[in-house]
Symmetry: C2
Subunit: 203 residues, 2 copies
DNA sequence: CGATAAGTGGACGGGAGCCTCCACTTACTG
DNA sequence: CAGTAAGTGGAGGCTCCCGTCCACTTATCG
């Protein structure tokens, strides 16, 4: 790839992050191109479909997830590590409201190596917190995507008007995840179902 | 209004419920018109804007809410009454996935008399459950719209593939609402904020 | 520096959906 | 049973966005 093309690719990804975050995932690609200062054809040449572009943007945000995970894993208290990680992920969602949906992509399964590593690390956090008796043992890893989908729905409505509302939801859920006298829970969706959901078009 | 016009109005509302539920709130109005067997002009004459149509459909579904409320209020156990109501509302959402967002409309404040009555009844359920020491006392009425927005987000992603996933979310939240050794919660959005959110275009 | 192929911008055709307009139809009234 | 105004359908103009095409530009390499 030619040097100028590579530069443009970066410009497009920056613009896409901003526009998607501000306008939602169905923002016109033309707007992204013009924000990036390139023609629409350039964008299409790099990213044949909207999904390709979304995937590239998501991949780029993965660094934020890595930082959150590292922080969680380094916390000596298993519950603090786990809950801190959840809070951090939810906050990333909240910071980029339009991207909220999309940010679930890297966090449930092995798309690429880095995503897989994050997922592994997350499983480790879960295991530790359960072992310490802090996390209820009917918690399943799929409960995180569940939380993220729910949070995305809340953010969708509240991000403009009550930008902190998500915190309350997350705290409620964290308290529910905490080990106590538990009521039985309905069984969660299977990992296969989750995968299917994630792979379906983001409409 | 002429008799035939009234009939058509009903046909349109039926069609709108079906199409919105199946295709989402941004389904083409033309499709609704054709499902109803009327011309597009007829639809526009009755409902000048998409919002008018949505509001009319929502108003019609209000009966479901009334039934759920009556059941909750007649339950001798305050916690069962409250939690049963929440579950019922969430289930209505789940049954009409596309409408999920919209169904929050009648349930937060006095748009009309019936909606106001439901809201009052809900407050009563909350008061009873708190008094019985079953519902945590930092629960606020705005936590229901919060739950519904979150649930809408989850349904959006899962309704096709894991149509029961919402149950798990609701149970987690109900368990969190339950009175226990509580952690402090972030403060909820104010009723004013909620109202503002509800009145903004449903995009 | 000149050849060349990768890269680029913006015009353009096409499709989808919104909403209006208007000539035609039909329920109601006296 | 006629007059009338409310009601109706669907064509058509409009806007927005998609994705392609092609003549022009420019980085790179020998």
């Amino acid at each position: 790839m030619r040097a100028d093309a590579a530069r443009n690719r970066e410009l497009i990804l920056d613009a896409a992050r901003n526009i998607f975050a501000a306008r939602g995932l169905d923002a016109p690609l033309e707007e992204i191109a013009s924000e990036a200062g390139v023609g629409i054809a350039t964008l299409y040449r790099r990213f044949a479909t909207r999904e390709d572009l979304l995937a590239a943007v998501a991949t780029r945000q993965i660094e934020l997830f890595e930082r959150a995970l590292a922080k969680g894993l380094s916390d000596p208290d298993p519950w603090e590590g786990f809950s801190g990680f959840i809070r951090a992920i939810a906050e990333i969602q909240a910071r980029l409201p339009g991207l909220a949906q999309m940010l679930m992509i890297p966090c449930h399964g092995p798309e690429d190596e880095r995503a897989a590593a994050i997922f592994q690390g997350y499983l480790e956090l879960v295991a530790r917190a359960k072992k310490a008796g802090a996390l209820r043992d009917d918690y399943v890893p799929e409960d995180l995507p569940m939380l993220l989908m729910a949070n995305a729905g809340l953010l969708r409505e509240t991000s403009r008007t009550a930008p902190k509302a998500w915190k309350r939801l997350v705290e409620y859920l964290l308290q529910a995840f905490r080990c106590r006298e538990q009521q039985p829970l309905p069984s969660p969706p299977t990992p296969t179902q989750i995968r299917k959901i994630m792979s379906q078009p983001t409409d």
